[in-house]
Structures are given as C-alpha cells and as structure tokens.
Symmetry: C2
Subunit: 334 residues, 2 copies
C-alpha cells in the first residue's frame, strides 16, 4: 500500500531547498511513499530533480515564524501549512509533516485535523537516545514536551495512555514502562498536580506504570515512556539538548587548546563520531502530535535534508503502525 | 573575625569520616574558621587528627534519609542536624552546614532558624558553570531548585530579589542579570504563573530583569541569576546534571572500545581533565537556603571530603559577604 505524505514545503529555516532534498532522498529510499507537496509550484519545480511519486499543489501564502499561530491558521487558508493539514483531514494524504511555525502546526492539528474524542489536549511526543553504558534500552519517548503550557490532571492520564500506545506500536515494546517525571522517585513526591497524577496513573489498568522518575535518570533509561506536563517537559528536554551541545562544544574547544590533544584527536575521531551519532537525536525523527485524528509530525525549524529524511521515515512508520487508528478505537470503546 | 561554622557531622552517605576530613582540610586552609561539630563525640574523636579550632558537641541521635523531615526535626531535638541548626539560631555559630536529609535541612532552616520577615517561602540556590566557548561568564545561579514543589506568584518575586542579592554579594556582580526560566524567550510565553511572573519581575525596580530564558541556554550564560519555581528548577537542574554525567560516561566508554582511541586519549588527558574541572560543579559548593534568618548550606548527600571542603568555603564566603544581614535589612525597610 502506498503511503501518502503531505508536506508543508515552505515551512522551516532552510525551506524549500532542504525540505525538497530530504523528500527526494526519502522517495529514493522507500518505494512505498508518495508525496503531496504544498508550496510555490514554480519554486518547487526549479528545485526538484525527479518528479516520480511527487504531486505539487500550489499554495499562495506561507505562515511565517512571526505569525500568531491560531490566527494565522484561521486566516491563511491558502498557506502551504494549512493546505497540507487540510489534505490529511480530507484523507487525500495519510500524514502531515512540517518544519514551520510550531504553534501553527499544533493549531492546524487541533483545529483543521481535529482532536480524538476523549482527548482534551493533544501532546507533543519526542524520542531521545538512552546513553548509559549498559545499553539495555536504546531510547525513550517523552510527552508532553510543549504542546500545553497549563496542564491538568486529566491531561496527564490521557498522555499516559497516548504514550503507552506509542510505546507499543511505534517503539514495538511488549509492555512499555510508563514513568511520571517528578521531583523525586518516592510515591508522595511532587506538587499537588503530580501527587494526584501518581495516584491516577497508578490506578490506570491500561498502562504499566512504574512510578516517578527524575530528570537526572532519563538518559539512563529510567522509563520507556516519560509522562510530563508540557511546561516541565519542555524545560527538561531543552536542558538535555543544551547540556549535550555545550559538552560537545566544550570538549572540542579544550582539545583545540593544545597541539598534543589535537594529535590525540586524530586517533579518536571514530570514538567521537560514535558519540556524536549516539547523541544525534535527528535519527529519531521529529515530534509527533498525539491525540489528533491523523498523524502530525513537527520537525525542527532548523531542519536540513537529513532531518527531513528522518522525519519522513518516522511519518512512514507512524502510518504503518496504525497508531492513530488504534488510539481512536480505544477511546471510542471506552 | 573568626567565623564559626556549625556542622551536622553525622549527615550524609559518607558521614562522619569524609565530613571530618573535609572539615580538617578547610581548617588547615583558612585560619579564620572555627567549627562547632555536632555528632557522636566518641566517633568524632576517633577520626580527628588535630583538635585545633574544633569544638565537639554530643548529639545523641541522627536524622536518617528515611525519616519524614518535618516530623524528624520536631521530634529528634537532640539530633546532630537539629542541634547544629539550634546553635546558629542562638548565634553560637554563624552558619549551618549539613550533608543530611535534604527535607530535614530545609525544615530546620524554616522551623528552627526561622524565615526572614517578608519572605513567604525560602528557596534553594545552586550555582553551575557556564560552559560556552566565549567564556564571558563563569557561572550562573539558579533558584528555587527544589525547596518548594508548589510555587505562587509572590514567591517568584521574592526569589528574584533574594537571587539578585546573591548575585551582588556572593557573586560580586555590579548589576546581576535576572532571567525567568520559561518555555520560550518572548514576553508572552509560559503557563499562567509564568506569564504573570514576567509582568511582576518586569515591574520590580530592585532588580535588573532581562526577560525569559530557556533551559537550553542556561549553560551558555543566558542569565546570571535564573528565577524558577522549585518544580521546574528541580527538573532543569537534574536534567543538566544527568546529561553532563551521561555524556562523560559515553565518551569514556566509546574511547575504551578502540585501541587507537585509547592511544589518542593519552595525548588528550589534559584536555579531558580541563573539561572535567569545568563541569565539576563541586567547587561551587552546595545549595544555599535563602530567605531564612541565618545562612544554611546543604551539600549533597554523597559528598566526600572535597565537596565538604568546598561547601565550607562557600559557608565562609556567605558569612563574609553579609548576604543574609543585607537581605534582612532590605525586607525590614520595605
């Protein structure tokens, strides 16, 4: 079966060039992908090498990073972002992918594609590598990492179920271990919200709740799925990203300070390369918006072709996994 | 003037041995320190090399990690932790230091030593290195990193003032840049609490508020003083610590995988050593509990002699800076 991917080709810092490059690489890699590409047809044509399995659809406007998200989605009906989302809504495409304005992608997911009945607030889901020495677990998935600033108890329970489905169908885990991000591991830790959330998750029969986890242990694989409110999840995710980058920069800087160390680096290039590879969370794709009626993938605004490629790979896997259909089934029967 | 430091010698994973070692090192390094040591006199005597400037005071019990903090502080009146705090309360010592049960150290700060009038909730304050290449800033200080799970607007304003004083008197900054940890840098970012906090800090004449900062930019020196609620601050701090540790382990692990890389490491040892030194936040001491009537220093439960030494150095500096007296003055005049 062909998988149809709707791409907002005009969104992102390096759009449309790098978006097109990533798309062509994915098309050449996987023979079951077909693309509906939304943007300036003229610009797209000038960049595309080979039209195989690419349909170009004209979009007359672009939602920029400066646009107020909700208003832009309501008003710029002919933007590449809204038209791509619309195509998924109308089942002309199976999955929507964008590197554009994050708030607008969320808004298009919620207002154009629509929430799943039973889900009050969709969540952004990100996968990060586990980097401990034992290598028992490869990666972990965290949600919400920023779709919601204000989070209520019911949201956290829904995130836990959405995350558990993600663990089963996307990460292929038999019985994903669900942890609650908290300020200590004991059951009575946290602010009011997280104390209540512990109780609620502990009483959810549908998930394998393993208790509270601390952000210090995330990269050690403390849980397969980390449930968190969007404000704290955003802070933890950005702290991890910032620290990993700072460490790599610092190590390179210190090595440059000495000729001897530079010589040493020649011997170590492979080791550093592997560290870089392992910390390179590009390959895990972008953030998946869970809780809406069709799959939505938000890749980073600064995505280049490689990241676009991995985002598309993830989009393909989300469709193949039937994650969203299974989630809808569950909430319909409930 | 002699500075008198009250130490809970029985608190911490490596107490009393490593606590005593750190104390003796500090005593031998600084000639203006005198110590009131609380614990089992018999055990302390068997470990101490030289009694110079050390007073031993018998404490018949110990607050353990398993004790419920508030109850333990109320009931174990003759514990090393409570007696040390009491000695500061009664002005027999100038500063209280412990590696014991964190919650109990907080409770002793609040209930034995007492809050400063005008401060509703004290805050835990931690200093971390800035690791960007420009090296314009050496470190930044963040509060609250976990004294409070539930934080209100008024608390954040008070933290900003406490932090600003810390920047001036402990970090010797003319005009410390105060940032609010938030999920984006724009003024309208955040949940309800943080949107209101932006407004409140922006209207505080006493501080140099530079706006919102994201956790991704903390190690880049985005602000000198980072104001945050205790729940988010705890998550960001632990994410930074965990990621830094994981990265160092991963690099060492990958280097061990290859003989060539191990050879390279010989040339690079100094560079790695400097990275380790820079990321070694031990030298910044422990967490200072701000907002109570006398200085309180909480060092990590796993502290060995080196960390104890730096905690004592910090205790000395807090007393010398007259930070607490200046904070009390400010809130009294207000």
């Amino acid at each position: 079966m062909m998988i149809k991917i709707a791409v907002d080709v005009m969104g992102g810092d390096y759009a449309p060039q790098e978006i097109i490059k990533g798309i062509e690489k994915a098309r050449d890699t996987y023979n079951n992908l077909e693309f509906n590409l939304f943007g300036s047809v003229e610009k797209m044509k000038s960049l595309i090498q080979n039209m195989e399995r690419l349909n170009l659809i004209q979009a007359d406007s672009v939602i920029t990073m400066e646009d107020e998200p909700v208003r832009a989605v309501r008003r710029k009906k002919n933007s590449s972002l809204v038209l791509a989302a619309q195509s998924v809504k109308e089942s002309k495409s199976d999955v929507f992918l964008s590197a554009g304005n994050s708030g607008a992608v969320l808004a298009a997911g919620i207002f154009v594609i629509g929430r799943i009945k039973g889900i009050d607030r969709p969540a952004l889901t990100t996968t990060l590598p586990v980097v401990n020495e034992k290598q028992e677990h490869d990666f972990f998935t965290m949600l919400d990492v920023g779709a919601n600033a204000d989070t209520k108890l019911a949201n956290l329970s829904q995130f836990a179920i959405l995350g558990s489905f993600y663990g089963k169908y996307m990460n292929h885990l038999q019985n994903p271990r669900i942890g609650l991000l908290n300020n200590g591991t004991e059951f009575d830790k946290g602010d009011q919200l997280h104390k209540q959330a512990y109780e609620a998750l502990n009483n959810l029969d549908e998930i394998n709740f393993i208790g509270n986890v601390e952000s210090r242990e995330l990269l050690n694989g403390a849980a397969d799925i980390v449930v968190t409110d969007g404000f704290t999840g955003n802070a933890a995710l950005k702290a991890i990203e910032g620290t990993a980058l700072s460490m790599l920069h610092l190590i390179k800087y210190e090595i440059k300070q000495s000729v001897l160390a530079q010589m040493g680096y020649l011997f170590e290039r492979n080791a550093f390369h592997r560290v870089g590879q392992k910390m390179n969370y590009q390959k895990y794709g972008g953030a998946v918006l869970l809780g809406v009626q069709k799959p939505v993938i938000k890749i980073h605004g600064s995505s280049k072709a490689e990241t676009v490629f991995y985002g598309i790979k993830q989009a393909k896997e989300v469709v193949e996994s039937k994650l969203v259909e299974k989630t809808i089934d569950f909430f319909t029967k409930k």
